[in-house]
Amino acid sequence: MIEISNLTKIYGSGPQEVMALKEVSLSIRKGEIFGIIGLSGAGKSTLIRCINMLERPTQGTIMVDGQDVGSLNSLELRQLRQKIGMIFQHFNLLSSRTVFENVMFPLEIAAVPKNEAAQKVNALLELVGLTDKAQVYPEQLSGGQKQRVGIARALANDPKVLLSDEATSALDPQTTRSILGLLKDINRQLGLTIVLITHDMNVIKDACDRVAVIDDSTIVEVGDVLNIFSNPGTPTSRSFINSIVNREIPAEILQRQFIDHGLNSSRLIRVSFIGASAGEPIISSMVQKYAVAANILYGNIDQLKDIPFGNLTLELIGPVETINEALDFLRKCGLEIEVLNHAGN
């Protein structure tokens, strides 16, 4: 749906030059919710704003639904923009218009006949659950309600793509969840492609199918959210994931490696499980099958979009051979295993 190739964006010139994006390539599929996460100043907003040409790329091409957005003339660009909805961190609703009129705004821009437009607006207000607020001015709404208006407005012209620049960053966690829930519903019901920028890993975890991690103007990792969560490939990704899923083992637990196990050896391992396997009693099967003791030290389980996901830190105690066999068994069951130490001989 969106093909970004070799995108470079430089702001300013001469000594004030800032390279906000450096040779970024990215492919976003039709119908997915694609997350872009990065620290402040990493270039997220610049990237999303290049997609609808609010920012002109210095170099590189962006294709949206087969159209090279950089090559469009101003009329063509305006027509394309009508098919790319955008929502904002600070909502950007017009204070001079009621909720109804705000949602009507993009339809006016697209010169949709009044009657048809009014029907559309009513349907959208129902979709976002704000029918009773139609005649109210934005100033009277809560943040969550304002963002719902923003979403309704962004959907008015039946876009193919919805761009969201930190749309939940100004909202509390509960409101964030309800807004993300709405976006997921829309994604499912309308098959809409959503590009979602955030610096909050929870947002990625709750809503996204795939994610790109952006750091210092470049994309350092792209992949399925599940894969990146269970196996982050870069320090940036790891620190984002650690910010919400505690993968770091508390120090007291690591101390245990010095306990004397006599003839047996011990392995500290971390098991990550995803999806269906999270529901199966794999660990207890292992204990029954092999002569190893499993000491559960630490763990948590969470939900990634709709898929259970978790990790468990275990100490396996037994003869080296048996421990290795047990580890093979776990791997065969599809679990991700990470051996954290080889101490305790």
Binding site: R81, Q82, I84, H90, N92, L94
Partner: protein
């Protein structure tokens, strides 16, 4: 006769004006002339000043109609006219006024220099109002595919409206003062009345009456402006 808060107007007129029968009618007529000049010159100055303000704002760097040269030229002209003292503009404008109205004397003729003085003022005032608008709103409109004209008419102007309305009151009040100055050079209105009777003929009473009437007019304009702006703002809350 009339008595306002204990002052006997008849006695007041008798003491300070001598033969005073003509005074109420003259003051009333002069007030009407002043209001007429102020109203029309405010209207003309907004008719010209608003578009100038829109050009000044939108031609700035990074704005929807970026044109730095135009912006600078226009900005300099506006500044130049604003830096002229009104009394000098009044004299400089005489040939132009004659060319437009056919005469340089009288109420209608005064509207020309008054408007000329107010246009650059209005341009800057409205420019300030337009600049208060959050850039995010313009960006949102751009992201929906709005044309520049749509952004001006559907975002910039409606969003700036309360602040623009307050600006109209400020402009009109300034023009009340300017119109009195124009009155001294034969422009009519309360200025003429105060000048010819209050100053030239030492009829201090008339001077004071015009001062009081001017205060009332200015207060009235400010009240109207506040009310109109308040109404728009309250509606949006």
């Amino acid at each position: 006769m009339l008595a306002i808060s204990g002052i006997n107007l008849a006695a007041f007129f008798a003491t300070y004006l001598g033969d005073y029968d003509w005074v109420p009618a003259a003051v009333l007529f002069a007030s009407w002339e002043t209001l007429y000049m102020v109203f029309l010159s405010t209207a003309v100055s907004y008719l010209v000043g608003m578009p100038l303000a829109i050009i000044l704002v939108t031609s700035e760097k990074g704005h929807i109609l970026e044109n730095l040269q135009l912006n600078q030229v226009l900005g300099s002209i506006v500044n130049a006219v604003r830096s002229l003292p009104f009394i000098i503009l009044l004299i400089l404008a005489i040939p132009f006024t004659r060319w437009v109205v056919g005469t340089s004397i009288g109420t209608v003729a005064s509207i020309v220099p008054l408007s000329l003085a107010a246009i650059p003022f209005v341009a800057r005032l409205v420019e300030t109002s337009l600049k208060e608008i959050d850039w995010g709103l313009i960006e949102a409109a751009l992201s929906m595919g709005a044309s520049n004209w749509q952004i001006i008419t559907k975002v910039l102007l409606p969003e700036a409206m309360p602040s623009v309305v307050l600006g109209v009151a400020i402009t009109a009040i300034n023009l009340v003062g300017y119109s009195a100055m124009a009155g001294v050079l034969g422009g009519g209105g309360l200025g003429t009345l105060a000048y010819y009777h209050g100053y030239m003929r030492y009829q201090t009473g008339i001077m004071w009456i015009t001062v009081i009437v001017l205060i009332v007019i200015v207060q009235g304009i400010q009240m109207l402006g506040d009310k109109a702006a308040g109404r728009i703002i309250n509606k949006r809350r």
